[in-house]
């Protein structure tokens, strides 16, 4: 049997006395679209931070295509094919859009250690960055400064930076947060166009988009997995309603 693209086993994390993640186990198969939902404070973003290594787990393990990641620093996990976007935009606001994507490309390129060559002379990097921006419809905006772009454009830039790295597993943390309806449609089309060799795990509150997109759904509540299954199973499960509508 094929190894899961992403496998969490008995993952736990406490902040002081407060458990943020409690014994979470889940496995996502290659090519799958997985949705993680749960009320505010359910520990969804904490789970992402444990997967990327921004936080270290108190117990449990994270595996990417069977490879143990638990002790690995964030940047090595990225080199193994992990990428993410942030719920709170994390960009380089004073730089041009194309420079943001170039920094993303450099992250996986040996040239990032070169203190001698001139960055802008590396034409191939800028060409790839331009392609990545065109993919999310920002080709025209490449030379603009991030601080002068709209919120929707920045959301798409987040996505372009992650996609430019050609990840194997992509973590999307509320890619639709704060967007208008037309912008949402746009991101939805972009997500649908991502090829199947990319495995996607997404946190999202917009149920219309999220349910249309996901194949399997995991419901988190107070750091625990309470329900997991196909779209229909999870929607029909009474515990899902309980969590969302209260006792």
């Amino acid at each position: 049997m094929m190894a899961p693209a992403l496998e969490l086993a008995h993952l736990s994390k406490r902040f002081g006395g407060l458990p943020a993640t409690k014994n979470v186990s889940l496995s996502v198969m290659p090519g799958e679209r997985r949705l993680i939902i749960g009320p505010n404070g359910a520990g969804k973003t904490t789970l992402f931070n444990l997967i990327t290594g921004d936080l270290t787990a108190d117990a449990g393990s994270v595996r990417l295509f069977g490879q143990e990641l638990t002790e690995m620093p964030t940047q090595r996990r990225v080199h193994l094919g992990l990428a993410r976007t942030y719920q709170i935009l994390t960009l380089f606001p004073r730089e041009r859009l194309v420079h943001n994507v170039v920094l993303s490309l450099l992250g996986l390129d040996r040239r990032r250690w070169n203190p001698w060559s001139i960055l802008t002379a590396n034409g191939d990097l800028y060409a790839s960055a331009q392609t990545a921006l065109e993919r999310v419809g920002l080709g025209e905006a490449a030379e603009r400064i991030v601080a002068e772009t709209s919120y929707g454009e920045r959301r798409r830039l987040e996505l372009a930076m992650a996609l430019a790295q050609k990840p194997k597993v992509l973590l999307l943390d509320e890619p639709l947060a704060g967007l208008s309806q037309p912008e949402r449609q746009r991101i939805r089309a972009l997500l649908d166009a991502i090829p199947r060799d990319v495995t996607i795990v997404m946190i999202e509150h917009d149920m219309d988009t999220a349910l249309a997109f996901a194949e399997r759904i995991t419901v988190l509540h107070y750091g625990e997995v309470i329900v997991e299954g196909t779209r229909a199973e999870v929607v029909a499960d009474p515990r899902t309603r309980e969590v969302y509508l209260g006792d």
Partner: protein, 328 residues
């Protein structure tokens, strides 16, 4: 590079070359050498401060280690070039070690560790009487004779310093525009994001720390060859703070800022101190005024002011043009 900057660069180069002729007076030519040496110190600390966002209060440590090593190696009978290479290598090695220690803590912790390390070097220089001459300092026997050129007099030493300075400036300029420089600035603005993009932020900062230590060591060797003397006073906390102030005053994160800052502080120190006893106060006043009106330093502040002025003039021209159109 636009034509304007190219002309400006050529003009700067010409002025720098002509300094001994323009000035003539040996005292001031020596001061020009001093400005260049301090400018190199300020440029090196700015690699960390401006591009990396790392504030170091222990930069004089490299002046100390490289300076004492250079003098002691020369006294031990090694030739000047060997002594200089040995001094720079030893001091850069110290930077590698200091970097590992300092980068354990971010932000304020980093400042405090660099400060502590700088004070340790100062303390050793102060206490190790047999080696460093303690409080009395130690004399450097002679200036080197690179490739048989005699650089004992003021203007030939100035040219020697200028050559070293321009080489360093060239390398640091390339550094600031390189992929590595871009990664460093990215790590300054969004360290977490940079990790998530595959960059090793710790290593980027450590390499920068060592490079900054290397260029400071080069400046340190120039310093002892200029003064022919080194004492613990030259590597005190005040020295580290002054180097830092040069970069901030001129404008960290620009290439020319630290050079301008070094020139102003060195000139105030040397020229004004002959007329005014409390030159330190004057320096303080200058610093406060600059930071009040130009919080990013002199160079970015002046560039911005110039741009604003030009725009206003242009607008006035177009609006008066429009007015005359209307009058017609």
């Amino acid at each position: 590079m636009t034509r304007g900057t190219r002309v400006a660069l050529a003009l700067c180069a010409l002025i720098l070359l002509a300094v001994p002729w323009i000035i003539g007076n040996e005292f001031y030519v020596n001061m020009a050498s001093q400005v260049l040496i301090y400018a190199l110190f300020a440029l090196s600390i700015n690699m960390m401060l401006g591009y990396g966002g790392m504030v170091s209060l222990g930069h004089a440590a490299y002046l100390g280690i490289a300076g004492y090593a250079c003098i002691l190696a020369t006294l031990a009978g090694y030739d000047q070039l060997t002594a200089a290479i040995f001094a720079i290598a030893l001091s850069t090695l110290a930077a590698a070690l200091f970097g590992v220690l300092s980068l354990r803590a971010p932000g304020l912790g980093f400042i405090m560790i660099t400060l502590a390390l700088g004070q340790i070097v100062w303390g050793v220089a102060y206490r190790a009487n047999d080696l460093t001459g303690g409080d009395n300092g130690i004399r450097h026997p002679a200036r080197p004779m690179p490739f048989g050129f005699d650089i004992h007099d003021a203007s030939s030493f100035y040219y020697f310093t200028l050559v070293v300075f321009l080489i360093a400036l060239f390398f640091i300029r390339r550094f600031s525009r390189s992929p590595f420089g871009a990664s460093l600035m990215g790590a300054r603005d969004q360290p977490r994001r940079m990790r998530m993009l595959g960059h090793n932020v710790w290593l980027i900062r450590w390499i920068t720390f060592v490079m900054a230590g290397f260029w400071a060591s080069v400046a340190g060797v120039l310093y002892v060859n200029y003064n022919l003397f080194l004492s613990p006073h030259a590597i005190s906390l005040q020295q580290s703070a002054e180097i830092l102030l040069m970069a901030i005053l001129g404008g960290a994160s620009t290439l020319s800022g630290p050079i301008v800052g070094a020139a102003i502080i060195t000139l105030v120190k040397n020229v004004v101190s002959t007329y005014v006893e409390r030159w330190n106060t004057l320096l303080g006043v200058i610093f406060v005024v600059v930071i009040m009106f130009m919080p990013h330093g002199l160079v970015p502040g002046c560039t911005q002011a110039w741009r604003r002025l030009r725009n206003r003039l242009r607008r006035r021209k177009t609006s008066s043009g429009a007015a005359s159109e209307l009058a017609r």
